[in-house]
Subunit: 367 residues, 4 copies
């Protein structure tokens, strides 16, 4: 089978274009030893529970699932009553990229608010968090936020804490879509416990797929009292794997140790390198702070077209001429520099400005 | 990590207690080469389409998914209108073991009929296929059958053909839950095309997980005209993998070649060996013909209890004293013989009757 | 507009072929005085709450809805968790005549059991009430029974009490489809409180439509602690009327006084008269005890066909030759006698056997 | 029963605070003649089909239902595929006031756009009508617009025509929430056929409740080819009445003749009178053109509070200080003038400016 990409390690299309980290594959092979109980009654899943309780607190319940959409639907369905609605950003993955799964599978109503940088604030939440007790209004019951966000920004610990407090003061739960949770922790330089349990988040979907896995995510409920029945819901939402050990083994490879952090840190560093270089390309303007593994920029159409002859990346907002460039655990410095060179060539420049995009430029705590 | 099973290769609890076949794991490693487009736009998935069209016919559409419940829900949702109902056996997996996923995710109404051996007949279908045009009755729109069935029996080609014709004559579609489709083909000694497309089946869920995979199934629509929108439905039912190549690679390992058949044939042969041996154990009575990889038998409670001290298997019908013993691609002759010895010991016998349970006793075309 | 029925007061097709009782229509006119708050914040609905609390106990919550299917779906959705299933008779209206509304609107899984006479017993419930805690099985969370049943039988107080106790001992709730609740009370000669609250039922759908209304039913929750959110669920299930006063006024006409009982008693008496007469027609065999307003009988095809030239009634089980003859508040003695005469004529008889089907034959407490 | 309102004919809270028109009640009484087939197989429903085909065209299919939420859910569910989404205004009733019924009952995804005056335009539709063929996006399949809108504005025939053409050019269907369809026709001075069928609308929910009914709406499908299965969907969405004749009789009272138009015209005239008067009250500013039966205005908080001592009306946008004042078929000139007087008194004025708010000031074609 030939590789489809003209630049094997150069795809900036998505962090899910990357393969699996070798350590994750090795863990699958190790887990493939004889028979094991199915549906999560195996030792790998038991160990995963211990490991993630180490990350998220002793009360945490851990449910491996297949993918991010499944994780979000299961977690949210557990967090809200049958008549509940979920307040989220207009650009939240659950609102824009899950084909209506939250509505159709879980009967959830999404109440969206526009944001500037993908991040909710108490004020933005309040634009939809009203009408409590009015039977005509789907009852706002949870706030869902994405960490890091869909536009590569990251909530600070204080922002998370403030949002959680605000939501709880309204009787609402807090859910985090953490497909890129590791990138957020890498950016913030904090532990997962500080970021999640410490800020009052009730349930988080912990990403594994983008961070070096094949496909594996975990629904982690920090406070089981507010999210009953996740086991039943996971099954009825088609997200229970018979050979669960092979999901858990992937997540163990990542989270029983620091592979999760190394992968995320690397991806963030590559994005930082890319952003610093791009910022110097004439006509290119970054549109969001680069606080995770994605770079968003306005790029003139002719320039984007020229670079696309050799590199793959997606439009984000065609009208504005905004593109998205994603880095992953598998992105290399050479690939970043090669992409930057292509940008510069297309923009009529032959060489990088001195002192930019060199190795080691990522600030501590920024990657 | 220590193996949880006291008898590493001896679990007869379920075919999903087995791990993955080494060739499947190797295929994952091979597919892990650099970047590849996500969500199925990769060359492995393209190749899988070709391979399964080779098995199921040129018009077939192929959609890799995560698991059997997901496959069934997606396929059935595509086959029936919003007001449709599905006729199935009372013991069908979709009715008994999917936690209501068909009802809750897809809004399907299941119309069940009791069966003797897990198999529907036109007469049994007719017990629920009525009320066409009556708005009070969920409209019977599809027949769902399991091949091989949940009780280890297998529809003959003629039975499948007759059922399809009958369903089609009523304007209904035919769906096959094929979690053990390979075992059926191995038993019948026919091709998948003869069994599925050749008998008029409209859509089939092709199993990979139990037959040597980690987790991978495929929804195969033989006639896309009768099952529109599967791509959309797969996504909204949470069954679309971002790194789809890792699902397709597993299925390629199985179906691009004869691994699917080798695995299934072995499992069937082991079940046959087990059944022949069990049939000679005093007090044990087989309850269904052994036409796939499962053995069902009435076992006196004391006997079952004694064997369970060392071997793991499930009750099937506690009231009747019926147990289920499953074989898989990973079950060894030694494990079977060891289990049989345990049964005989517990039943007060020291040695097998001569000429039974020996190697090579499975009939050609029967495994 | 001409009346469609050749025998204006003679339809035995269904109790919903009857019109509205004049007192109900009068109540609508009385309620049509000026403006009133919508969505149930009106004095008629407040009064209805008082009245039905008089019937069902001080803690009862009362929610007027449009129709029986809506009432059942709302009540059951409130009683069970998201992963819940409902055990009911195979012939329950919710299972056979609601087009999958419970599954599609409320995501409920129905677990059906065959019954002899439409009535569940603890033993029959146990055939489906198992698998608690197993995530593969939709969790049995409520028992739904119909009082009076779909085949004209009525649970005794003791049977209801035993069923409730059994369900509660399993942690399950008890729901009653009471489209013909009044007929049951009329038959049993008891109060609604004795029949419902007194036997431990958790929620009941109180019929109004068949018992003299135009369309009005009420979901009555006896113990609000076990059925939260009914107000929200009623709205999201499309069953909240803007001008709720016109639902409440109908129910007040029936239940604030004894019209509900008079109507039901009359209907039962007519059914009893009809049954006694039919029992003497050669070839006719009653199939169920007549304990409400419906008569079920095996009738030879030729005989049924002959009577149908002038009278309208439905087949119930075509294979067995069983028909259903319904009486209502609007059925007259003359109509019953006219129907019986038609049966006798068709059966070759000219006159009723002496002493049968005469007025006053209904036993006290039996109508 | 005492009337709850201190000003019996003066409620401006909602047009559903009004009772039923006497001609509608009389029609119910007339329809209450003996037995009639249930579930719509009655002569009133047959006649209603003829009458509404007279209004909406010969191909129209007519389905009486209970209420507006039910009508919208049924119609939209019939118009879009299982993977479909509905583009609508942010303030559309289906998005804000139906407690998530479209999402929960019908699995619909709503794609909302902010509007200035409650009206969609092709440009606004395009903000959500994209991503066709992308499986991650719920597929835009219908445009839903409200006529007259939730803020009392009305689409012109040309606007409707342009929207329909635009939607159809995208392969989308057009649905109209016509809870106040009569008010729109009254305002435009056109026939229903010109407004609906003539502009290319595919399905419309025809209001009866607010326009003088008790509760009765009709789903009218102009082109049955694009909305299959409405009969099944109505039943499974709990919106099929057993005694359908009593829904049809109400709608006949309105639409078999000109009562629908008289009621709507009167309501519009009252709103016009109210708006003209309000416009002269110091501090009050109308926020939308008054093109139906609702008046929206910014009112200083102190002023609103003073008037509310004697009159009932709702806040619309508390932040902006916007209130909503609804007129109905039952609103009298005296009530309007009384309300205006209250406003003027509270605003410190004793008498109306000369020449305003007098009778007959509504322009032809404006009411």
């Amino acid at each position: 089978m030939t590789d489809p990409s003209p630049h094997p390690d150069g795809s900036f299309a998505s962090d899910n274009y990357a393969g699996a980290h070798p350590e994750v594959l090795a863990a699958l092979a190790e887990a493939n030893t004889g028979f094991a109980p199915s549906y999560g009654a195996d030792p790998w899943t038991a160990r995963l529970g211990e490991v993630l309780r180490g990350h998220f607190g002793d009360r945490a319940e851990v449910y491996p699932v297949f993918n991010g959409t499944g994780a979000n639907v299961v977690a949210l369905q557990a967090l809200v009553p049958k008549w509940g609605a979920v307040v989220c950003a207009e650009g939240a993955h659950i609102a824009t990229d899950e084909a209506g799964a939250p509505e159709r599978v879980a009967g959830l109503k999404l109440l969206t608010v526009p944001t500037v940088d993908g991040k909710l604030t108490p004020e933005l939440v309040d634009r939809q968090a009203w009408g409590f007790g009015e039977e005509h209004r789907a009852q706002p019951a949870a706030v869902s936020l994405t960490q890091s966000t869909e536009v590569g920004t990251t909530y600070t610990l204080e922002e998370l804490h403030t949002l959680s407090e605000h939501a709880h003061s309204l009787g609402m739960r807090v859910h985090v879509d953490g497909a890129r949770l590791a990138n957020a922790a890498a950016h913030l330089g904090c532990t997962l416990r500080e970021m999640v349990t410490g800020t009052g988040i009730d349930a988080v979907c912990v990403g594994g797929t983008k961070d070096g896995g094949l496909f594996a995510e975990a629904v982690v409920v920090c406070d089981p009292a507010v999210a009953p029945g996740v086991g039943y819901i996971r099954k009825m939402d088609t997200q229970l794997a018979s050979k669960t050990r092979f999901l858990s083994a992937q997540l163990l490879a990542l989270y029983d140790g620091d592979l999760w952090l190394r992968c995320a840190r690397h991806a963030n560093t590559m994005a930082d390198r890319l952003a610093r270089g791009l910022a110097t390309v004439p006509g290119v303007a970054l549109t969001h702070p680069v606080e995770a593994n994605g770079v968003f920029a306005i790029v003139p159409a002719a320039l984007a077209g020229a670079v696309r002859r050799t590199h793959h990346f997606y439009d984000w907002d065609r009208e504005r001429g905004e593109v998205r460039l994603m880095c992953s655990w598998a992105t290399t410095e050479e690939a970043v520099d090669d992409l930057l060179a292509a940008f510069r060539r297309a923009a009529g420049e032959g060489s990088p400005p001195p002192g930019l995009a060199g190795p080691g430029r990522a600030e501590p705590g920024q990657d």
